[in-house]
Every structure is written in structure tokens, then in C-alpha cells.
Amino acid sequence: MIAEQFPALIIVFPLITALLINVVGWWWIRPCFYMSILALAVSFISSIGILNTVVTQGIIHYKLGGWDPPWGIEYVVDHLNAFILVIVSFIGLLICIYSKKGIEQEMPKKIPQFYSIYTLLVMGLLGMTVTGDAFNLYVLLEIASLASYALIAMGEDRAPLASFNYLIMGTIGACFYLLGVGYLYIVTGSLNMADLSELLPKLYHSKAVLVAFAFFLIGIGIKMAFFPLHVWLPDAYTHAPSSVSAFVAGTMTKVVAYVLMRVMFTIFRPYFSIELIPATTVLGWTAVAAMMYGCVLAIAQHDLKRMLSYILIAEVGYIVLGISMANRMGLTGAILHIMNDALMMACLFSVAGAIMFKIGNRDITNFRNQQLNKKMPFTMAAFTITALSVIGIPPTCGFFSKWYLVIGAIDAQQWVFAVALILSSLLSAIVFFKVIEKIYFKPREPVHPDSGGTHEDVVMDEAPISMLIPIYIMVGGILILGILSGKIISTVIQFAVPASF
């Protein structure tokens, strides 16, 4: 019985908990963290239940309030949805565990508010993923965005201004999406995604539909930080609190990329997005620019989190590149990359947060003097493994998504895309090995062979266990999910790619 209600439970439980946390937080602060964990755990278990149902039985149609679509709001969960639900709720749960020590240090007076809004943010993202109604998606998009504006503004000193700029740009993006939905409503009278998919093909020649598609793309591009609409991302993610950066970097942009896939391939059939208008060509070339831009600018950064934000922009480029290749392999690579990138980015930002927690600053040029390899060996090992995954070294998961993307590029006969993919691998190698060098190899004067190395004993001062365990769970995922990617593709992703490819 419960299993049937999972699609609703996954939203309702965190929503109510978020409100309760705020209320409970007036009197007792300690329960707030545990309530949040409980809500996110329930979401995670529901998402696994949903994935299980979808894999074994097929697409789930859940009607809210019992109203039939297209009059009522419907939650439709197919393989793509279910996959992303699991990813988002998993990372939400992990980062919530991770956040405990960090939040206590960064904002001790605002703990109930943080957990309340954080739960709301996770719920908004999960709702965006699970809904089958275009307007409902707008509402949940705005819920998630507002929560993220508030959370980012709780950060360090430059955060409120960064969050304000993000707010302005993000609202433009969401309003463009709303305009797109409006245009579609005018011409079809429906808001349900499956219904729109049936009604639109007769109207593909109309200008309103064309304009709607354009508005969708721009609005989603702004929200996803797709070059050149990415301007808000580096500031916002750098100055946000560590846990917030870790979570939003791993999930927000990926969920919006999923929305792009829904718009391009479910609402508008693939025929429209690929052949009727050259959207995929435009997206593809812009994605190449995004990848190059992100990697090159990351090389120039001193602040670790800022560097990671630019890498994130490049990663979004990968996903859109995969979508734009418009063949089965490319889309497989894009969907696989959503999972891998969520893990990698969340892990990298978590490591940056752990460093900030222990040391208090994130300047890369300072790492040499900090002797991080002796003080925080486990955290640095996690960083190295995740960096290797971003570069695309087997057997980490990053290699496998790159493999599918390269094959997709070859299938599409787009050699420039393939070369761009491997070039960005090399650029990200430069970015990360610069940092790895500074962590592990201190330039020193040639040691005279007989003097013997004298080392002041540096005491190991690792990040707290509540931070290390989520980081290492994510690292474990990065190492294992790569090798299991064949299984993942054959059970889930193979069906998530639209059937006409």
C-alpha cells in the first residue's frame, strides 16, 4: 500500500518536515538535524522503491487527488525520472549528514533555519524530477530556487550580494520557462507533459510553438548555468556555505539538465528538436564552448571552490553535448554523466568544505605550506581519486561517461566534438594536477644524501568522521559505479533514452 504512494510521499514528507523543523527549532535545536535526516531518509527509501517498481513493472502514473490528467496534476515516473530521483535523494541525505559539523561552525545561530530550508530545497528538486505537469514543474523549480537563494545567502561575507545576483538572473530564467509554458497553453490548452506531447505535433509549424521552445531553452540554460548564461554560478557557489555548495553543485544543475531532456524529447518529440529546428546543432557547439571555457578559466583560479565552479560549468557542457548528439550512445553518456557528475561534484565540494572547516581558507597557493598531505591524508586521498574521475582515468566512473560521449560523437560523425572531449580531459588534468602537486609535492632544495631528511612530525588533524563518512561513501560510489556502468546502463539507462533513438 505504501509503495503505491511513494511518488507523493517523496514530496510530502520532506515538505511537512521542513515546516515542522522551523517550528520545533524555536524551542529545541538538537532535534532539527535528526528530523531533517529522517525526512531525507524517507525520501531516499521512497526513491529506491520507485526505481524498483519502475524497473520491474514499468512507468508509474500517479494522479494527485485522484483527478485524471489532463485536468489534474499527474506524477509520471519513468526510468529517467526514477534514476535521477535516487541520485538526488542520495546526495541530499549524504550532504545532510556531512553538514552537521560545518553548520555548527559556520552559522551556529541559524541551525533550525538551515535544516528547514535545506529539506525544502531537496524536496523542490525531487518534485521537479517526479512531476509530469509543466506548470507544476515551474512551481517546484521556484521553490527549489528560492530555497537555494536563501541558503546561499547564509554563507560567508560576499554571499548576500552573490545570492542577490543569482536571484535576479534565476528569476529571469524561471520567468522565461513560465512564458514557454504559457505559449504552449495558449495553443494547446493543456499543461500535462504527456498530453502536450500528443497535441503538439500538429502544431509544429506554428510560430508560437517555436517561440515557446526558444523560451524554454533560454530559461533552462540560465538555470543550468550553460555557457554563456552561466555568469551567476561562480560567485554564488564559491561564497555559499560548504554544505550548500556541495549539494547544489551536485544536483541543481543536473536536475535542470534533466528538465532540458524532458522538454526536448518528451514535450517536443525528438523529430522537432533535432530535424525541424537545428536546436541540437546550436546546443552542441555552445556546449563545446562551455567545456573549453570552464576548463581554461578553472586553471586561472586561486580559490579552490571557484576553480571547482568553473569545472562544474564545463561538466554541464558535457551533459548538454551528450544530449545534443542526438543518438543513443550520446544520450546514454549524458544520463550516465548526470549520475557521475553529481557524485564527483558533491565529493569535490565536500572536500573543499572539509579543508575550509579545518584550516579556514581555500587558497590553493597556500596548500603547500599547510602540509595537507600529512594533516588530512584521507581527505586528500578522496580529492585525488575524485580528481582522477573528473579527468577521466579508468576505472573511475568519470572515464565511462566520457567513453560513451566519445562513442556518441563518433556515431554522429562529429569529430570536433570528440576532439573537444579529449582536449577538455587534458585541460582538467592540468587543473587538478596543479592542485595535487601543491598538496603532495613540496619543492625543496636537493637533499644532501648524507644529511638524512629531518621532518618535524606533523600531527594528523583530519576532518571529523561525520564529514569523512559521506565523502568516502561518495568516493566508493565513484570507484564502484564506474565498473558497474554496464549493469546500470542495461537495467535503467537503456530504457531512459527515448525509444526513437
Partner: protein, 135 residues
């Protein structure tokens, strides 16, 4: 050409309004003016949606005329405006209000810190320079 503009005058009005809001968001330096621009932008979109509910032939607002008690007969749809966009825009108005609320609290935080709301002055100010994340 002129008939084209006159016939769709409502849409043109919303476009103008939207562009005014957009310009304010991008072109103005004062944070509150940006916020006002954002509001104008959002209201333009809301008005656009609402205006799509109009029907030709003298449709009236979607409240049943001379009705009392539960409705027992069918309603002539052509007499009433489409209520769905109105309802959707209620949601959108709520979203807009919450966004404005969040933005205003951010503006208060920024004002407390930098004592000004002009973006140029904030970026030049000593407090901003002093708050470099490194060091």
C-alpha cells in the same frame, strides 16, 4: 500593419512592460531598482497569461450569474472566461511575492553590511575588498 498592432494591443503592452522590467534588472545599479524591475517583469508575464483567458463574444468573469445554491444545470461555457490561467497566475503571483520577500531580506542584509545599495559602490567599497575569501 497598423491593424495588426491595434488588434493585439494587449500583447504589445505586455512586451513593452516586460522590456522595461528587463532593462531595469540589467541596466540599473541600485539593488532596489533591480528588484522593482524584476517585479515589473514578472507582472508583465502574469498579465500576459491572464489576457489569454479572454474569449470573443462578450464572455464575462467566471462566476455564475444569478446563481444561488449548488449548480443543477449545465453551464454555457462560451459565456464565461477561461478560469484556468487566472488560477495558474494566482500561483505565479505567490511565487513572485515570495521571491520579492527573499530579495528584500537579502537587500537588508547587504545594506547592513555595506551601508549602501548601489552595486557599483558596493564593489568598490572597502568592506567588499576586505572580505576576500582567501587570506
Amino acid at each position: 500593419m497598423i491593424e495588426y498592432i491595434i488588434a493585439k494591443y494587449n500583447y504589445w503592452a505586455y512586451i513593452v512592460l516586460m522590456m522595461i522590467g528587463f532593462y531595469a534588472m540589467i541596466g540599473k545599479g541600485n539593488l532596489i531598482k533591480k528588484l522593482l524591475g524584476m517585479n515589473v517583469f514578472q507582472w508583465a508575464i502574469i498579465l500576459f497569461y491572464v489576457s489569454t483567458s479572454v474569449k470573443k463574444g462578450g464572455a464575462t468573469i467566471p462566476i455564475i450569474q444569478n446563481g444561488h445554491g449548488p449548480v443543477t444545470h449545465a453551464v454555457d461555457v462560451a459565456q464565461y472566461l477561461n478560469p484556468l490561467p487566472h488560477v495558474l497566475m494566482l500561483t505565479a503571483i505567490v511565487v513572485g511575492v515570495s521571491t520579492t520577500g527573499v530579495a528584500l531580506s537579502l537587500a537588508i542584509m547587504i545594506y547592513r553590511k555595506y551601508k549602501t545599495l548601489e552595486e557599483d559602490e558596493i564593489l568598490q567599497s572597502e568592506e567588499y575588498e576586505a572580505l576576500k575569501p582567501e587570506e
